[in-house]
C-alpha cells in the first residue's frame, strides 16, 4: 500500500516538520512494514509552469513528426514573449494548456534544461510528459491540462510534484491498512494524536426505492449497499488533485467514475463497483454461480464459473465476479465523441455497489481464476463491513461534486444481521505473554486505541472493532497491547531449559561421517533432490530396480526434473561434471542427505488427503497413518571421485583415483559407526560389472547390504559425460547405524615381543583375497595379532589363471614370548586352512 504523506496529513495533524522517514520509524515500531519512503520530486527544480500552445509547425524530413511550437508562459520567462519549443509528441493541439519546463530548471534524474539547438531550431525548454516529471510511468505523450489553469502558474505546486510516499507491505492480518483510513488510524495512535475518520459521514437511512437488490447468499455477502447517481457529464474529467493522489498511490487515472471508485477504495478500504445503469437490466442479485456459467470479465477474459464462485447478476445473468472483478457487459463506457454531433457521449447514470463479501469465498475465486485485483486483495484480508454505506456515500458525494451528477434519493441496503464480536481475556494476559507488567490501565487504554470497547476489571470483555476481523483470541489482543507499548521495550530474559543430553548418537554419527570424509580429502557438495527418470535410465537401472520407486512432484520447477532422488549419485555426478567442466579435474566429492522411496500403497497415501482436525491432538493411530502415507526417507552418504587421488610431484608419480578409493570411502564411513564392512564382489548398476563391491554389515546376526562401491560402468561414464574411470560409493547411514555394535571393549595389550611370518600363496585368480585372508585368520588361531596382504602378483611363472598373494602374519601371545616353533606352527596351521578352503598352494614350499 502506497501512502502519500500529503494525503495522510488530511486525517492526522502531524507536526509540520515531520518527514516521511520520521513517520516510517513510528509505523515500523507499531508493526507496519514500511519498506521504502519515496521522495517524489527529489531533484526537481523549476521554473516549471503552465503554458498555452499558440502555434504548431510540423517539421518534415525526420524519422518521426517533430513539432516546433510557440507557447505562452505568461511572465514566467520574464519577457512575456512566447517560448519556442521543439516537441516530439503530437497529442496536443493549438490552444491546449501544457506543462512547460524552462531553461535553468532541472528534472528528476539530474536532467538540466537549457536552450539548445535541435532539429534546426533553438528549443527554449520542453513540453513535459508525466513520466518526465516522475508522476507515473505513463509514456502516452505530454500532459494536457484542463483549460481553467492560468498560463505561468507554477506547475510543481499545481501537480503536487513534491511529496513523500510510504510504501507499506501489509501483512495478511492487517487488511484495514490497505487504506488511508487504516494507516491514518495507526499513525494517529503512534503519535498520540486524534484521527479524523473519513468514514464518519452523514448517510441517509436506507429506504425502499433504491435500486433493487436481492442477495440470495447472505453468508457470501452479508452487506450490499446500492446508490444511484444520474446526469453525470461525460466530459467531466478527474481533477488534478484526484489524479495525482491515484498516481501517487500507484494507480492509473482512467475516467472520472472509475477514478472516484478507486479513490474511495484507497481512502476507506472499501472496494466499490460502478455499473452503467443503462447496461443493467432488472434486479441486481448476489448468488453462487451455476456450474459452467460463463462471464467475460473487464479485461476481456471469458471465464467458466465454478459453483463456489459468488457472482453479481442482473436479469440476463452474471455481470460480475463478486469482489474480484466486474463483467465487461456492464462496464462504464469510455468517453467518446459522437460522430454526428461531436458531443461527448458516455455513461451518464451509474449504480454504485458497496458490498461486503466473505473473505474465504473471494480468496478461492481469485485463486481459481488466477485474478489478483485491488478488490480481491482487500476482501481476502478482511474489509470493514460497517464501512459500506459510508463508502457509497463518499462516492456519491464525489460524483455529484466533480461530474455534476445528481444523487437519487433511493438508498438500498441489504444486510445480514451479525452481532459484535467479543473476546474475554484476563486483564493481565498481555503482561504474561510479554513478561512485562503493563498493568490493567495500560492494557485497556491500548485496546481502546485500537478501536475496541473494553469492560470489566480482572476479566476484560473486549468488543473488537468491525475493521479488525483478525482479532479473535486473547493472544491477538496481547499482540496489540505489546506492539503499541513497543516491541523495542521488551526486556531480555533467558529461560532455563532442563539439563540436556547433547546430540543423539545418530546425530553425532552424521557429523562424524562428514568429518571423516572431509578428512579423507572429500569436499561436501549438497545437491538439489530433483531428478528425472531419464537419469535413472542413463545409470542403467533395471525396470524393477528399487531405485525406480520415485516420488513425483505435482508442480516441479522443471518438467525435466519431476521426481525426487532415490539415490544421491545423480546429483553428485552432476556436481562432479560441473567441476570438471570448470577445469577442476582431480575431484573427490561427498554428500549426505535423504533419498525418497515411494513405499506406500495408494490406499495408504490417500490418508494424507483427508484433513485431520486441529482442535485437538490427533490420535496416535491417525498420526501413524499419516506417517505411513509418506515415502521412506532414509539418510545416505555417497562419494564420487575422478582424476588423481594422490598428486604427482617432486616426490614422484601420482596415483589415479580408482575403485579401491571408493570402497575405502565406504569403510571410512562405516568405521565412524564402529562397523567393519564385509566387502563382496557384486554386479549392480551403475557400477562396472567387474569392479563393483557390495558393502555389507551385520545387523542382528544377519548380513545386510548397506551400500555399493567401485568404478562406474564405462557406458554410464560415457553417457553422462564423466571423466574416465569415475568411481563412486553410496551407503545407507540408517542401515549402518543399526549395525553399530555396543561400546568398544578395550583390547588387552601384550608387551611380549611379536613374531612375524610371511607367507606367499598361489591361488586361482578367481579366489577373492578376502577369502584367503579369512582362512589364514581362522587357521592361525588365537596367537594371530594381525594379517595383512602386502603384495599380489600374476605372471608366467605362476601359470595362467593363477595369482600369488603375499601375507604378513604377526603373532603374539599375551602371557609369554613365543618360541620360533610356536610361531611357525601357527603359520603352518594358517596356511593349512587356506590350502584346504581356497585351494591355495604355498609358494616356495
Amino acid at each position: 500500500m502506497r501512502i502519500p504523506l500529503s494525503w495522510l496529513r488530511e486525517y492526522v495533524d502531524l507536526p509540520a516538520g515531520e518527514t516521511g522517514r520520521d513517520v516510517q520509524a513510528k509505523l515500523v515500531a507499531a508493526g507496519l512494514e514500511v519498506e521504502t519512503v519515496e521522495q517524489l520530486g527529489a531533484g526537481l527544480t523549476g521554473p516549471l509552469v503552465v503554458g498555452k500552445v499558440l502555434a504548431i509547425e510540423v517539421l518534415e524530413g525526420f524519422k518521426k513528426p517533430i513539432r516546433y511550437c510557440q507557447v505562452d508562459v505568461g511572465q514566467a520567462n520574464n519577457t512575456g514573449e512566447p517560448q519556442n519549443i521543439i516537441c516530439g509528441a503530437s497529442n496536443f493541439a493549438v490552444g491546449d494548456k501544457v506543462v512547460v519546463v524552462l531553461p535553468g530548471a532541472e528534472l528528476p534524474g539530474g536532467f538540466k534544461i537549457s536552450a539548445r539547438k535541435t532539429y534546426g531550431h533553438v528549443s527554449e525548454g520542453m513540453i513535459c510528459s508525466a513520466s518526465e516529471l516522475g508522476m507515473s510511468d505513463d509514456h502516452d505523450g505530454i500532459i494536457v491540462l484542463p483549460p481553467e489553469h492560468e498560463v505561468g502558474t507554477d506547475a510543481i505546486e499545481l501537480l503536487e510534484l513534491r511529496d513523500e510516499v510510504l510504501d507499506i507491505a501489509v501483512t495478511p492480518d492487517r487488511g484495514y491498512c490497505l487504506s488511508l483510513r487504516g494507516v491514518a488510524r495507526e499513525t494517529a495512535t503512534a503519535y498520540g494524536l486524534p484521527l479524523r475518520d473519513p468514514a464518519l459521514l452523514d448517510v441517509p437511512a436506507p429506504n425502499g426505492y433504491g435500486y433493487p437488490v436481492s442477495v440470495s447468499d447472505p453468508v457470501g455477502c452479508d452487506r450490499f449497499t446500492a446508490r444511484t447517481v444520474v446526469g453525470l457529464s461525460p466530459e467531466a474529467r478527474s481533477p488534478i488533485w484526484l489524479q495525482r493522489r491515484l498516481q501517487k498511490a500507484g494507480m492509473r487515472p482512467i475516467s472520472l467514475t472509475v477514478d472516484v471508485a478507486n479513490y474511495v477504495m484507497l481512502e476507506l478500504g472499501q472496494p466499490l463497483h460502478t455499473y452503467d445503469r443503462s447496461r443493467i437490466s432488472g434486479t441486481i442479485g448476489v448468488r453462487r454461480a451455476t456450474p459452467g456459467e460463463k462471464l467475460t470479465t473487464l479485461e476481456g477474459v471469458k471465464r467458466v464459473l465454478d459453483a463456489e464462485d459468488l457472482v453479481i447478476t442482473d436479469d440476463n445473468g452474471p455481470i460480475g465476479l463478486a469482489g474480484v472483478m466486474g463483467g465487461a457487459n456492464t462496464e462504464i463506457a469510455d468517453v467518446a465523441a459522437d460522430p454526428t454531433s461531436g458531443e461527448s457521449v458516455g455513461t451518464t447514470d451509474v449504480v454504485i455497489e458497496a458490498a461486503h463479501f466473505d473473505a474465504v469465498s473471494i480468496a478461492r475465486t481469485a485463486r481459481r481464476h488466477k485474478i489478483s485485483s485491488e478488490a480481491s486483495r482487500r476482501f481476502e484480508r478482511g474489509v470493514d463491513p460497517e464501512a459500506t454505506s459510508a463508502a457509497a456515500q463518499r462516492a456519491v458525494d464525489l460524483l455529484v461534486l466533480l461530474a455534476g451528477g445528481t444523487a437519487e434519493a433511493g438508498v438500498t441496503e441489504v444486510t445480514a444481521p451479525s452481532g459484535p464480536r467479543t473476546i474475554t481475556m484476563s486483564a493481565d494476559h498481555p503482561d504474561r505473554v510479554a513478561g512485562v507488567a503493563y498493568g490493567r490501565e495500560t492494557v485497556v487504554r491500548r485496546l481502546q486505541e485500537v478501536g475496541c470497547d473494553v469492560y470489566g476489571q480482572d476479566e476484560l470483555v473486549v468488543t473488537v472493532p468491525s475493521w479488525r476481523p483478525d482479532l479473535g483470541a486473547p493472544n491477538d489482543l496481547a499482540e496489540e497491547v505489546i506492539r503499541l507499548e513497543g516491541y523495542a521495550n521488551l526486556p531480555a530474559t533467558l529461560p532455563q531449559p532442563p539439563a540436556g543430553r547433547g546430540l543423539t548418537e545418530r546425530q553425532r554419527l552424521h557429523r562424524r561421517v562428514g568429518r571423516a570424509l572431509a578428512g579423507a580429502g572429500y569436499t561436501e557438495a549438497p545437491n538439489y533432490p530433483f531428478t528425472s527418470e531419464e537419469i535413472l535410465d542413463q545409470l542403467g537401472l533395471d525396470s524393477d530396480d528399487p531405485r525406480r520407486a520415485t516420488v513425483r512432484l505435482a508442480n516441479p520447477l522443471s518438467d525435466t526434473e519431476p521426481v525426487l532422488r532415490t539415490t544421491l549419485l545423480p546429483g553428485l555426478l552432476g556436481a562432479l561434471r560441473r567441476n570438471d567442466g570448470r577445469g577442476e579435474h582431480d575431484l573427490a566429492l561427498f554428500e549426505t542427505g535423504l533419498v525418497f522411496r515411494a513405499a506406500a500403497t495408494p490406499d495408504e497415501v490417500a490418508v494424507a488427503a483427508v484433513r485431520l482436525p486441529v482442535d485437538r491432538r490427533p490420535s496416535d493411530t491417525e498420526i501413524a497413518a499419516l506417517n505411513t502415507a509418506l515415502p521412506r526417507q532414509p539418510r545416505r552418504a555417497a562419494v564420487v571421485l575422478a582424476g588423481t587421488r594422490e598428486r604427482a610431484g617432486w616426490w614422484g608419480k601420482g596415483r589415479p583415483a580408482d575403485w579401491s578409493d571408493a570402497i575405502e570411502a565406504g569403510r571410512a564411513v562405516a568405521r565412524q559407526a564402529g562397523v567393519e564392512l564385509i566387502v563382496r564382489q557384486d554386479q549392480q548398476a551403475p557400477w562396472h560389472p567387474g569392479r563393483c563391491a557390495a558393502l555389507l554389515a551385520v545387523v542382528d546376526g544377519q548380513e545386510v547390504l548397506v551400500g555399493n562401491a567401485g568404478e562406474l560402468h564405462p557406458r554410464v561414464i560415457k553417457t553422462l559425460g564423466l571423466p574416465e574411470r569415475t568411481s563412486a560409493m553410496e551407503i545407507e547411514l540408517d542401515r549402518l547405524e543399526r549395525a553399530t555394535p555396543g561400546p568398544v571393549q578395550a583390547p588387552h595389550v601384550s608387551t611380549f615381543p611379536v613374531a612375524t611370518r610371511d607367507v606367499a600363496l598361489i591361488v586361482d585368480a578367481s579366489v577373492p583375497a578376502a577369502d584367503v585372508e579369512t582362512a589364514l585368520r581362522e587357521g592361525a588361531g588365537a596367537l594371530l595379532e594381525s594379517v595383512r596382504l602386502f603384495d599380489q602378483f600374476t605372471g608366467e611363472q605362476l601359470g595362467a589363471g593363477k595369482k600369488s598373494l603375499a601375507y604378513a602374519l604377526r603373532l603374539r601371545a599375551s602371557d609369554r614370548t613365543l618360541t620360533a616353533d610356536e610361531a611357525s606352527a601357527a603359520r603352518d596351521a594358517a596356511v593349512a586352512t587356506a590350502v584346504e578352503r581356497t585351494g591355495a598352494v604355498l609358494r616356495g614350499a
Partner: protein
C-alpha cells in the same frame, strides 16, 4: 711381592726420563691435532695409545725401576697418558661434531617444496554453520530434532494454523507430491493432473516447523528443541533465491515462557554467533503459527549501525541500514498448542526460525546464492571443517 730390582739397567730406563715422556706426550698431542678426520685420528690413536705406542712401552718399563724411582716414573707416565687420552677424546668429539655437522648440511632439503600430495577436503559451510548454531542451543540444554522432508500437509500447514485457504498453500509457493505414488505408473499429462494431484496432502516441507509439531506430539513439556534442516519453496534459482534451502528453527514450550524469554534467547544466539553485544530488534509481523509475531533483526555486526546516514562509511553487509533481517519469531499460537495436544492454559512457548543461506551470505560475504548450491569445490574448500 718381588724383591727390589738390583740389576738396574741404565739403558733400559732411558725411556722413562722426564724429557722422553714429555716428548712422547707432545708427539701424541701433535699427531691428534694433525689428524684431519676420524680415520686419521684412529691411526694416530693406535700409534700413540695402542699397545705398541711409546707411552705404553714406557709404562712397561716402570716395573723394572727401583721402588724409589717407580713411583716417580709411574706418576710421570700416568700423567702423560692421561693427558694424551683426554686430548684424544677431545679431538674425537671435535671431529665427530664436524662430521655430524657436515652430514646434516648434506641432508638439508628445500622445505619450501610443495607438500600437497593430498588435496584437502572440506565440509559445506551450510552444514557447518547449521551445526554451529545447533551447538549454541545444545549448550543451553536444547535437543536437536529432525523430521522428514517430504511431509504431510497436516504437519506442515494445518497443525500450524494455516487455514485451508492460506495463500502459502497455493501451488506457486509449495511443491506438492503427486497422489499417484509414481512407482512406474507415471502419467504423461502431468500438467493436467497437477491440480488434482495437489490434493494428495503431501508436500515438500516449506519450513522446518513440522518438526516442531512432531516434537510437541512426541514429547511432554517442557520442550526445548532446535530443528535444522532442508526446506523447499517453488522459487527459481537466482542470485538471491533458491528452491531448496536450509533453516534452523527453535521451539521452547514451558510454563510461563514470555516474549522477554524469546528476546533473551535471540540475544544470546546472536551474541554467540556474531560477538557479545550485538543486539537484536523485534518488529511486529504476522505468521499463522505465532501470536504475537515478530520479525527479528540483528544489529549489523560489521558497522554496528555506524554506516547509517554516513555516506563516507558505507557498509555492504547491511547496505548501510544498520540492521540485518534475520527471520521470523513469536509466541506459539495457542491454536498450535491445542492441535499438538498441549494445554495452552498451562503452557506457553516461543519459536523462531531463519534461513542459513542468508546468514551465510552476510556472515561470510557470499555474493551469489548459486555459489552455495553448485557444489564448486573452489567455493567450499576454504571453509574447511568448522565455521
Amino acid at each position: 711381592m718381588s724383591a727390589p730390582n738390583k740389576s738396574f739397567d741404565p739403558v733400559e730406563v732411558e725411556a722413562l726420563k722426564p724429557e722422553e715422556i714429555a716428548r712422547m706426550r707432545d708427539e701424541a698431542l701433535a699427531a691428534f691435532a694433525a689428524a684431519g678426520d676420524l680415520a686419521a685420528l684412529h691411526e694416530a690413536k693406535i700409534a700413540h695409545t695402542g699397545d705398541r705406542s711409546p707411552l705404553a712401552l714406557a709404562n712397561r718399563e716402570i716395573g723394572a725401576l727401583p721402588p724409589q724411582a717407580k713411583a716417580d716414573a709411574g706418576k710421570r707416565v700416568g700423567g702423560a697418558r692421561g693427558e694424551v687420552s683426554r686430548a684424544l677424546k677431545a679431538r674425537q668429539e671435535e671431529l665427530e661434531a664436524e662430521r655430524d655437522a657436515r652430514v646434516l648440511v648434506e641432508e638439508a632439503v628445500d622445505v619450501t617444496l610443495p607438500t600437497d600430495r593430498f588435496t584437502p577436503g572440506a565440509r559445506h559451510p551450510l552444514t557447518t554453520l547449521s551445526e554451529r548454531i545447533e551447538d549454541v542451543f545444545v549448550a543451553m540444554g536444547y535437543e536437536v530434532a529432525e523430521g522428514p522432508e517430504v511431509e504431510a500437509e497436516w504437519f506442515n500447514f494445518d497443525a500450524l494454523n494455516f487455514t485451508p485457504d492460506h495463500p502459502a498453500r497455493a501451488m506457486q509457493d509449495t511443491f506438492f507430491v503427486r497422489a499417484t505414488d509414481g512407482g512406474g505408473a507415471a502419467k504423461q499429462d502431468a500438467k493436467q493432473d497437477a491440480e488434482q494431484d495437489a490434493e494428495s496432502g503431501i508436500v515438500l516441507r516449506t519450513h522446518t516447523s513440522p518438526v516442531q509439531v512432531r516434537s510437541m506430539l512426541d514429547r511432554e513439556p517442557p520442550i526445548y528443541v532446535v530443528c535444522p534442516g532442508r526446506v523447499y519453496r517453488t522459487d527459481e534459482l537466482d542470485a538471491t533465491h533458491t528452491p531448496v534451502f536450509h533453516q534452523v528453527e527453535l521451539l521452547a514450550i514451558d510454563e510461563g515462557l514470555t516474549m522477554a524469554d524469546l528476546k533473551g534467547t535471540l540475544d544470546h544466539m546472536v551474541g554467540a554467533l556474531f560477538g557479545a553485544g550485538v543486539r537484536t530488534r523485534l518488529r511486529p509481523n504476522y505468521f499463522p503459527f505465532t501470536e504475537p509475531s515478530a520479525e527479528m533483526d540483528m544489529q549489523c555486526y560489521v558497522c554496528h549501525g555506524e554506516s547509517v546516514g554516513n555516506p563516507d562509511r558505507p557498509c555492504r553487509t547491511c547496505s548501510s541500514e544498520g540492521w540485518i533481517e534475520l527471520g521470523g519469531c513469536g509466541m506459539v499460537n495457542p491454536r498450535v498448542l491445542v492441535a499438538c495436544g498441549i494445554d495452552p492454559e498451562r503452557y506457553s512457548g516461543f519459536a523462531f526460525g531463519f534461513g542459513i543461506e542468508r546468514m551465510l551470505m552476510f556472515r561470510h560475504n557470499v555474493e551469489d546464492m548459486r555459489d552455495m548450491v553448485e557444489g564448486d569445490v573452489r567455493f567450499t574448500r576454504p571453509f574447511g571443517m568448522e565455521i
